[in-house]
Subunit: 412 residues, 2 copies
């Protein structure tokens, strides 16, 4: 089944609201086996709504419309849809009574404008709203399915789960595609592609691979279409095996797992604790480790040693190393990792010292240079990496490199 989504609202166009409904519906539908082929956003404008409605309705089996169903004068979706279907609006007594009860329950007078929420176009079914006053609308014929939902995310989700999903589950033309996601770490998009090599043996017109890069790593999305094509699972198995063989230890997990979760699982499994000594990352490693619920099982804490005297006084970094090699150096990175391991009494210490920019670079140590330190009971070492010009990006990339180094050392 192919679907298109039409999201309506000026606030989406001017960026006052990020379109999280599109992402949520895209994920829900693709997991149900519906192929989302296109999403469109237009403002609160009846003719734009009708023209996009027409285009989507003529090409997709399922059309979902969100937004513009509220009571105010700039909510135009209900009228625009009714007019498109040439379906007169009538007030539904049951909905009207329910809306009145909704306000009574809250000891509030029902506003006059709320009566609009009870208007249903002829030939449309009502989709009950378990979490609010506005209902959704449903239209179905032999060729086309249409759901019209409110734009408020909680209400949209509530109606989708309670009333749209059951109606879609009854359709026979689902499951056109299956997906898998492999999560990688410690390797850039181009290098990863090079490592994977020619994929002619494992990709074909019905088996696809997409690269989704971010500052914490590249996710690989494997997709196989199943319509009339046999062995979709087998094709994905072959593609996954190829990737795992080529990318080796860079593949850290599946689905929406994160680098910090994988590191945490390794530490927990081995009963080890970790602490970070951070200069260039300013606390970001600790922040990322503690994004994982339950991280107190293995995360002890961090020392953010932004000033050199904190490196010396708290982490015991030698004045000699700071003077001779400079704060951004192998020696200092190693001593920071060792120091935080000792001071916070942790099994593993990781450290970052680098130049996030935009200022502070030199010809030998340009902006983007970082030394990542690592220390545990049996070894200590540091690696140098060179990233980009942007301060925020560099901090993210430095932190990812440190988490990845710690992850690999635990994985052995």
């Amino acid at each position: 089944m192919r679907a298109q989504l039409l999201t309506i609202g000026d606030e989406l166009l001017i960026g006052q609201t990020t379109n999280t409904n599109a992402a949520w519906l895209g994920e829900e539908l693709s997991q149900m086996g519906v192929t989302m082929e296109r999403t469109v956003t237009v403002g609160d404008d009846a003719s734009a709504i009708q023209s996009e409605m027409d285009r989507a309705y003529r090409t997709a089996r399922l059309v979902i419309v969100t937004g513009g169903l509220g009571p105010t004068h700039d909510d135009l979706t209900r009228e625009a849809v009714a007019e498109y279907f040439e379906a007169p609006l009538h007030s539904d007594d049951e909905i009207f009574a329910r809306i009145r009860r909704y306000y009574e329950h809250r000891n509030r007078q029902m506003p006059e404008a709320a009566a609009k929420l009870a208007q249903v176009p002829e030939g449309f079914a009502v989709l009950d709203n378990p979490v609010g006053a506005a209902v959704g609308l449903w239209h179905e014929d032999a060729d086309r399915l249409l759901a019209v939902l409110p734009g408020i995310p909680q209400e949209m989700k509530g109606i989708f789960r309670a009333a749209v999903r059951p109606r879609l589950d009854g359709q026979t033309d689902l499951h056109e595609v299956i997906h898998r996601t492999l999560v990688t770490s410690g390797i850039g998009e181009s290098s990863l592609q090079e490592r994977l090599g020619a994929l002619d043996d494992v990709l074909d017109a019905h088996t696809h691979l997409a690269y989704l890069p971010s500052t914490s790593g590249v996710r690989l999305r494997l997709t196989a279409t199943t319509n009339g094509e046999p062995n979709a699972e087998t094709r994905l198995d072959r593609l996954e095996a190829h990737i795992r063989e080529r990318a080796g230890e860079h593949v850290i997990g599946e689905g929406d797992v994160t680098l910090e979760e994988v590191l945490g699982d390794h530490l927990r499994a081995e009963g080890r604790t970790i602490a970070s000594a951070e200069s260039a990352t300013g606390g970001l490693i600790g922040h990322r480790l503690t994004e994982v619920s339950g991280s107190s099982d293995y995360y002890v804490g961090s020392v953010v040693a932004y000033a050199n005297r904190v490196k010396q006084d708290v982490l015991d970094v030698g004045a000699e190393a700071l003077r001779t090699d400079g704060a951004v150096s192998e020696a200092v990175a190693v001593q920071m990792a060792q120091g935080v391991r000792r001071v916070l009494d942790a099994d593993v210490g990781v450290a970052t010292t680098g130049i996030a920019g935009p200022t502070g670079g030199t010809p030998e140590k340009p902006v983007g240079t970082v030394w990542i330190g690592y220390a545990d009971a049996t070894q200590c070492r540091a690696v140098r990496r060179q990233y980009v010009e942007d301060r925020t990006l560099n901090k993210e990339l430095f932190a990812s490199a440190a988490l990845d180094l710690a992850r690999r050392e635990q994985g052995r």
Copy 2:
């Protein structure tokens, strides 16, 4: 000027990535006086890209395309755009050399696929990328402007700021709209709205106020249209004066200034240094303070005391307070702030201890409870705040509350 946006990527359609580019570009363009009338998302599919490209290009003065410019086989935008314009692709020597240098700089072999990044369609200008290897593309004729940008948000923003905005600023058909943004801190959207009261005297059909809430505070966008309407500046002056009078010390600045920048400016002006002692925020306060370039002038460092023994051993929090009052308490927050001030030898110490969730709540201290500690040379105190159920949101809100408390104390 009317604009349409075409965002490309399977990951957007299946909800693996939320389309934040659309929101960011929508806000930037509307502040420049460009009317965004429609955004469309399609997958990595050459014919879908061309068909949407055609529709947008035939109706809008400005078309922005994002995504699908990378080096891999599923990046099809460059080829699709070149084919749409019947413009042969040629390799640009200068870009090629720059990409090679980009990899040399990082001591890495340039992957063969990266050569694709140097391909430019005939008749297109190159938009330099200040933060990465992929460049943007620009096409301009008497009727139409077209910008093609990478999908990675940092790169898209970098190119937009450096190369697209200046080209648009030179256009004569920008809307006559003037904007101001007031940045607030330490107050939620509803409370702020209540405080501002009825705005009938200062708002009219040509003078608007929008609330832009985030975890670090609510920004207020003041807009006045000038087409044929006189005194736009005067109208904004009156609106601004009203807001400043009502919101008082919650207004911390204008434009895109951040809470951490304002705090940093106060500290620098008074020659003071700051350190943070973090439990629930896990390093996020240090991370946010160091997002500001030049923060080493006043930021000394942090101790992330996630484990209670770090609170005791490194920050000298008393065992008695931890036992009697618990880690999430006024006494512990104050002692953490005092401790980090002393241990890192800073003028100001801020501290957080709370329950970010989703587990760990009790009837007396539910998830979302936080104590914020503050200490300087003349005083120490702590305040209790109660936020939400979500771990990530709570960490952001806790950090904002701590930064805001420190900001108010310096501002006196």
